[in-house]
Symmetry: C2
Subunit: 141 residues, 2 copies
DNA sequence: GATATAATTGAGACTGAATCTCATTCTCAA
DNA sequence: TTGAGAATGAGATTCAGTCTCAATTATATC
């Protein structure tokens, strides 16, 4: 059982930061949103609900969530960032359809292992990686 | 022997476009620049040489170069695009140092093959892919 | 509960990359 | 040489994301 709020609280405490109404609203929205969301989308969703949170705070909170390992910032080739929650999810990468925009997740342990090998060869300390494959999904090809 | 100008000309012809002084200047600069360059950098380099080309034209030309397969647009996590010439180069991906910004290229046929498998499984038609590994290089770790 | 202090927020200004507009200039085929 | 379409450049515009700063809020302590 994963507890995003607890995880976030622990992170905030370690940095002497506070869990505010706004941060909690962002966290909940991100965590219960399936898939990949955009910051701008988030401002609208939250506004339509009871809790409006300013754009500045949304960006600031997303950064905290990324930092705390709850959320991952990804680039799907749209010229702006997307975010997905990763706490309790296994690592995956993406197939991105250039026509309909659909995003298919995949996991491949072998690729991960080969990447680790490559880093070792260059004495490179991996922090994160992204594998994006762009093309056309089975419905759009 | 690779002939970028010829390749570009062929592409332009096929689209009923013209090889102008400005387009040629951009192509040459990109092609003879080693590694990964930024659009803004390009405006400065070209200005300092004899041939000044407007920002608009530089962006427009880079798009044509990408389209014609001479150049690849890549995201090195800097919040803006980089470009590298790929004509006559074997495909590669990148290790990006988060501290010094160094970019190390690598090629791995096995990873490529595994990616092809993944696409087949989802009946996904691959057009391009990017693999970026972020971390610290041997001098910065 | 009151208070102090440091953290937090929001509005809106700002930045920087990239795109768009449109009047002017250029290219090239006829 | 000329005309039509293509191309260019200056500057306006867009858009994501960041910054500023005055006003507000959370939490620890009294």
């Amino acid at each position: 059982m994963v507890r995003p709020v607890e995880t976030f609280l622990k992170y905030l405490d370690s940095k002497h930061l506070k869990l505010t109404r706004e941060r909690k609203a962002v966290l909940e929205e991100v965590f219960f949103h399936p898939g990949h969301l955009e910051a701008e989308e988030l401002t609208h969703t939250l506004r339509s609900k009871k809790s409006r949170v300013s754009r500045a705070t949304i960006y600031r909170t997303l950064e905290l969530l990324v930092d705390s390992g709850i959320v991952r910032k990804i680039d799907l080739g749209h010229g702006h960032s997307h975010y997905e929650h990763i706490l309790g999810h296994t690592h995956h990468d993406h197939l991105v359809c250039l026509k309909c925009g659909k995003v298919i997740e995949f996991t491949d342990k072998k690729i991960e292992r080969l990447q680790t090998n490559i880093c070792q060869k260059s004495r490179f300390q991996e922090i994160s990686h992204t594998v994006q494959i762009f093309g056309y999904c089975k419905d759009c090809r």
